[in-house]
C-alpha cells in the first residue's frame, strides 16, 4: 500500500509504524505473533509478495505445464527421466498448482486483508478530519506566492471551497485540502485485488471444465459421463451441470486455395441445434472460434477439428460388424494427413483391428500417396495394417481409441500391411476371407471445450475496479493550500498594493504532476477583487503571448524547497514584479 506522503504521515497508523519499531525483545509468544502479523500486513511485505508472485510465475513459462501441454511434459520424461523427476519434485510442471505458489498467494491474500482493513478505517477517520492549520512560514513551502488585495479570510475560504477544496479557517488563515480520492483509489485498488483473488478462487472451486469430441450428425448432452475428459472444481456436483444438449448438424472449414499461403485456414464454423434444457424448443447456433455457445453461463468452445471418415466393415461371416465414422488424429496439421484406428470387437470369427491413413486431398508422389491440402478435395483412405485376433478390450487395461493396444497387437495375426488407397465408395477385401472394408464417406469431428466458471464476471468487475483505483492513485494528488491574510499590514511594503498582504502556500508530494500550474490558478482566483465590491475581476492579463515567461514554475518538480538551488534563468530578464517573492 502506498504511503501518502508527508501530508498524511501523521495518520500513518498501526501496522507500519509498528514494523519500524523492530522486533519485540523477549515478548513471548504473543509478542512474536503480533510482530509476525504486523510484518505480514505491512505494505512492504505486500509488495514483496506481489513481486514474488510475479517471479514465481516465471518457471511456468519456461517448463511445459501439465494440463496445458501434457505431450511436452511427457517428452521431458522421455528425454531425461532423472532431470524430469527432479523438476517434478519441485512442481515445475505444475507451477500454478504448486504448494509454494499457493503459499505466496495465500500470504499475499492475508497480507492484503491485514493491510486494507486498518487503512480503510484510517481513511474514513481522515475523511471526517479538518485540514491542519497553516504552518507559520508559508514562504518555506514548495509553492508560494504573495500579493496584496482586499481579500478576507471568509472570501478566501469561499473561493477555495468553490474549487472543491475542503476548508477550515482560523484567525487570519485558511487551510484547504483536496485529493482524498488518491487514498480512496488506493484502497479501491487493493480491495479489488482481493476481489480478483476471490473470484479466481471461486472459479476454481465451483467451476468445471470438460473436453469432448463430437462427429457431425452426432450429439452431446452435458453430463459427466458424456465427456472424454472432465475436470470439476472441488465443490461441483455432477447434478449441478447445466442440462443442455446439442447436435452437430455440420461443420465447415474454409482454406486458402492458392498462393504461398495455400492451405491456411480462413474460417471454421459448426452448425449446432441446441436445446437449452430438456424439452425446450431447439435453436440454431453457429459455433465459431471466437463465438462460443453460451447456455446460462456455461460456455462451449470450438477448439479443434479433424476428419472422421466412415467405413462399413463386413466380417468373415458376412455380417456387418461396423458401420460408422471413425475420428482420426491429425498427424500433419498443414495437410490434415490423419491416422485412424478402427476396432471391430463384434467381428466374427475373430475381432479385427484396422489402421488407416486418411488423406483429404491425395496425390501420388512416387510410390506413395500424400495429402497436399487440408480440404477434402480428393479424400482417400489407405489401409496400412489389418489384424485379426483379440483386441484386448476385456483385459481391463485402459486403451486409447487412437491406437491398437501394443501388447494385444503382438498376439494378433497380421492380415495385410499396405493396401492400395481407397476412394469414397471403394472396397477392400481382406485376405483369407476375413471380410471386407468399405470406405463409405467423409465426415468431420469437432473438439469442444465446455467450461463453467462462476468467477468470470466478478473477476472482470474486480479487474476494472482495480484499474480505476490505480488510475486514481496515480493521477490524483493530495494537495494542501494555505492562505494567510495579513490584515494588519495594510498594504505597507507592497508597492502599488491597495489592500493588505496575502500569502499563499501550497504543498503536494507526488511526482510528475503539474501542481505548479494548478497553484497558479488558485492564486489568481484568490487574487481577483472581492466580488462584493462589484468591480469586474481583472483578468490575469494575457499580455504578450510570445514573451518568455519566467514565472511558470517547473511543473514536475514539487520538491522540498531545499533540494534545488534557486538559479533564475540567466538569459531572460523577465518582467519581474516588485514585491514578488520567489518561492525557492
Amino acid at each position: 500500500m502506498e504511503r501518502t506522503g508527508p501530508v498524511t504521515e501523521e495518520e500513518q497508523t498501526t501496522a507500519e509504524a509498528a514494523v519500524d519499531r523492530g522486533r519485540p525483545a523477549g515478548l513471548g509468544v504473543v509478542g512474536w505473533a503480533r510482530w509476525f502479523w504486523r510484518t505480514l500486513t505491512s505494505m512492504r511485505t505486500a509488495l514483496i509478495l506481489l513481486f514474488l508472485f510475479a517471479l514465481a510465475s516465471v518457471p511456468g513459462s519456461i517448463w511445459p505445464q501439465r494440463g496445458v501441454s501434457d505431450a511436452k511434459v511427457a517428452q521431458y520424461f522421455a528425454d531425461d527421466p532423472a532431470l524430469a523427476r527432479w523438476l517434478d519434485r519441485f512442481w515445475l510442471f505444475d507451477v500454478f498448482q504448486a504448494p509454494w505458489f499457493a503459499a505466496i498467494y495465500l500470504l499475499l491474500f492475508v497480507s492484503l486483508i491485514g493491510c486494507v482493513l486498518p487503512r480503510t478505517a484510517a481513511h474514513l477517520r481522515e475523511l471526517r478530519r479538518k485540514p491542519p492549520a497553516a504552518p507559520r512560514n508559508l514562504s518555506r513551502l514548495p509553492h508560494h506566492a504573495s500579493f496584496s488585495s482586499g481579500l478576507t479570510v471568509g472570501e478566501a475560504a469561499a473561493r477555495l471551497r468553490a474549487k472543491r477544496f475542503r476548508v477550515t479557517t482560523g484567525p487570519g488563515w485558511v487551510a484547504a485540502e483536496k485529493g482524498y480520492l488518491r487514498e480512496s483509489g488506493n484502497l479501491l485498488f487493493h480491495v479489488a485485488l482481493l476481489g480478483l483473488l476471490l473470484a479466481v478462487g471461486a472459479g476454481a472451486l465451483y467451476g468445471y471444465r470438460g473436453n469432448v469430441l463430437v462427429v457431425e450428425g452426432e450429439g452431446f448432452a452435458n453430463t459427466v459421463a458424456a465427456y472424454d475428459r472432465y475436470m470439476p472444481g472441488q465443490q461441483v456436483s455432477a447434478e449441478s451441470l447445466e442440462p443442455f444438449s446439442f447436435t452437430v448438424e455440420d461443420f465447415q472449414a474454409t482454406y486458402i486455395a492458392k498462393g504461398d499461403k495455400a492451405g491456411q485456414a480462413l474460417d471454421y464454423a459448426a452448425r449446432l441445434k441446441v436445446e437449452d434444457a430438456p424439452g425446450v424448443a431447439a435453436r440454431e447456433h453457429l459455433l465459431k472460434v471466437n463465438e462460443p455457445l453460451d447456455v446460462n453461463g456455461t460456455l462451449s468452445y470450438l477448439i479443434d477439428h479433424g476428419y472422421a471418415p466412415t467405413f462399413r466393415i463386413t466380417d468373415g461371416k458376412g455380417q456387418v460388424a461396423f458401420d460408422g465414422p471413425v475420428a482420426c488424429l491429425v498427424v500433419q496439421p498443414a495437410t490434415f494427413t490423419s491416422e485412424c484406428v478402427i476396432k471391430v470387437p463384434d467381428a466374427q470369427p475373430e475381432q479385427l483391428g484396422v489402421l488407416v491413413a486418411f488423406l483429404p486431398t491425395a496425390v501420388p508422389m512416387g510410390s506413395e500417396w500424400v495429402s497436399i491440402f487440408p480440404g477434402a478435395a480428393n479424400p482417400t483412405a489407405q489401409v496400412y495394417g489389418a489384424f485379426a485376433g483379440d483386441l484386448g478390450l476385456e483385459s481391463g487395461r485402459p486403451q486409447s481409441v487412437y491406437e491398437l493396444d501394443p501388447t494385444s497387437l503382438k498376439k494378433m495375426k497380421p492380415l495385410l500391411m499396405k493396401a492400395d488407397p481407397l476412394e469414397v465408395g471403394g472396397r477392400l477385401a481382406l485376405p483369407g476371407g476375413a471380410g471386407s472394408i468399405e470406405f463409405t464417406g467423409v465426415k468431420e469431428w469437432i473438439a469442444l471445450q465446455v467450461a463453467y466458471d462462476p468467477g468470470r464476471m466478478p473477476a472482470l468487475v474486480s479487474a476494472v475496479l482495480a484499474v480505476a483505483g490505480l488510475v486514481l492513485t496515480l493521477t490524483v494528488r493530495r494537495r494542501r493550500v494555505w492562505v494567510r491574510v495579513h490584515e494588519a499590514s495594510g498594504g505597507a511594503g507592497v508597492p502599488g498594493g491597495d489592500g493588505h498582504r496575502v500569502e499563499v502556500g501550497g504543498l503536494t508530494r507526488t511526482e510528475g504532476g503539474d501542481f505548479g500550474e494548478e497553484f497558479d490558478e488558485i492564486v489568481s482566483a484568490l487574487d481577483t477583487e472581492p466580488r462584493d465590491e462589484g468591480s469586474p475581476a481583472p483578468e490575469p492579463a494575457n499580455t504578450e503571448p510570445s514573451t518568455p515567461e519566467p514565472s511558470t514554475p517547473e511543473p514536475s518538480t514539487p520538491e522540498p524547497p531545499t533540494s534545488e538551488p534557486s538559479t533564475p534563468e540567466p538569459s531572460t530578464p523577465g518582467p519581474l514584479n516588485p514585491g514578488v517573492q520567489d518561492a525557492r
Partner: protein, 336 residues
C-alpha cells in the same frame, strides 16, 4: 474476410517501410547534428519554453501579470549553462546548424507518414487490421513509438530525444524487415475478431510509449552526470516518467482486453500461458517503478533501473516468448 491479397498494395507497403527506415536514419543524422552544434540556439529556446511545461503554458499562466510569482524551476542542466558561449572568435557554429533540429523534426514527420502509409497499405492489401503477426506488430510498434515522440515534442521540449528515438525506430524496423517479414496474407481464424482492434492496438500504443521511456532510460544510464552534449538527466527522467504514466494504464487495458478475448477464444480468461505470464510480469515491473517513485520517493538511477528491467520484460515478452517459448499466443508467425 477476403482471401484475396492485393499484391500491388502489399509490395507498396514493403517499399514504404524501406523509405521509412531511410527517413528515420536521415532524421537521426539531423538530430545528431543538432545535438552536436545546435546547443546555443537550443539554450535560448529552452529559456523561452520551460522543459516539459506544456508549450504554451507560460502564455496563459495568469499569476505573473497580476504581480504574482510562483517558484521558477531552476535550470537542472549544467550543460546548457556551460555551453553558453564557448565558441572561438569566429563566433558560433556555422549558420546551417540552426536548421538541423527543425530538419530532424521534418524528416521524422516524413518518416512517420511513410510508416503510417505502410501500415495502411498493408491493412488495405489484406483487408484486416495490419497487426496480425510479429512483423506487422513490430512495424506498428515502431510507428507508435515515433508517434509518441512526435506528439510529445509538439507539447513539450523533448526534441533532444529525437536522435535516439529515430535510431530505435530505424533499428526496430530494420530488424522487422530483415528477420520477421512475412508475405501479406490473411490471419488464422482465431485472430479474425474485433478484439484484435482492441487488444493489439492497446498493446501497440503502450509498447510505443514504453519504447520512448526505455530509450530515455538507456540514455540516462549511458550519459554521466557531467556536462556533455547529451540531454540532461532530469529531462530524461521526466520524459520517461511521463511516458510510463500514460503507457501503464493502456498496458493494463491491453492485458485485460487480452483476458476478455481469451475468454472468448480459448475458453478461459487467464491460463498462465507464457505470453500471459510475461505480460503480468511486465505489468508488475512498471507498477513497481511507478510505486517506487510515487511513494518510496525513488528517483534517479534506481528508479531508472527498475524502469529498464520492466522494459526488458516487455521486449522479452515480444521477442523471447514469440520465438523461444511459444504457447497458445503464437500467432506471431515468425519466419524461419
Amino acid at each position: 474476410m477476403p482471401a484475396e491479397v492485393d499484391t500491388g498494395l502489399a509490395t507498396l507497403s514493403d517499399q514504404l517501410i524501406l523509405a521509412t527506415v531511410l527517413l528515420y536514419v536521415f532524421a537521426m543524422i539531423a538530430y545528431a547534428l543538432d545535438l552536436a552544434f545546435g546547443r546555443p540556439a537550443e539554450a535560448s529556446a529552452r529559456a523561452a519554453r520551460p522543459r516539459l511545461a506544456p508549450v504554451g503554458a507560460g502564455v496563459g499562466a495568469p499569476g505573473a501579470a497580476s504581480g504574482v510569482t510562483a517558484g521558477t524551476g531552476a535550470d537542472p542542466d549544467p550543460a546548457v549553462a556551460g555551453t553558453g558561449r564557448v565558441d572561438g572568435p569566429s563566433g558560433g557554429p556555422p549558420a546551417w546548424t540552426r536548421w538541423a533540429g527543425p530538419a530532424g523534426v521534418a524528416l521524422s514527420w516524413l518518416g512517420w507518414a511513410a510508416n503510417l502509409a505502410s501500415l495502411l497499405t498493408r491493412g488495405l492489401a489484406v483487408g484486416r487490421w495490419p497487426w496480425g503477426n510479429m512483423y506487422e506488430f513490430v512495424v506498428a510498434m515502431c510507428f507508435a513509438a515515433m508517434s509518441a515522440f512526435l506528439f510529445m515534442q509538439l507539447r513539450y521540449r523533448v526534441r533532444f530525444l529525437g536522435a535516439f528515438v529515430a535510431v530505435a525506430a530505424a533499428l526496430g524496423l530494420g530488424f522487422a524487415v530483415r528477420y520477421l517479414h512475412v508475405q501479406a496474407g490473411p490471419v488464422v481464424p482465431a485472430l479474425n475478431s474485433y478484439w484484435i482492434a482492441i487488444h493489439v492496438s492497446a498493446a501497440i500504443i503502450a509498447s510505443g510509449l514504453f519504447i520512448l521511456s526505455g530509450v530515455s532510460g538507456i540514455l540516462y544510464l549511458v550519459r554521466k552526470d557531467g556536462s556533455v552534449r547529451l540531454p540532461s538527466r532530469p529531462d530524461l527522467e521526466r520524459v520517461a516518467h511521463r511516458a510510463i504514466v500514460i503507457g501503464f494504464p493502456i498496458w493494463t487495458f491491453a492485458v485485460i482486453a487480452g483476458a476478455l478475448w481469451a475468454d472468448k477464444a480459448w475458453g478461459r480468461y487467464w491460463g498462465w500461458d507464457p505470453k500471459e505470464i510475461w505480460a503480468f510480469i511486465t505489468w508488475i515491473a512498471y507498477a513497481a517503478y511507478l510505486h517506487a517513485r510515487a511513494t518510496a520517493g525513488w528517483k534517479g538511477k534506481a528508479a531508472m533501473i527498475v524502469q529498464l528491467i520492466a522494459f526488458a520484460c516487455l521486449l522479452f515478452n515480444l521477442v523471447g516468448v514469440n520465438i523461444f517459448l511459444g504457447g497458445l499466443h503464437s500467432y506471431a508467425e515468425v519466419p524461419g
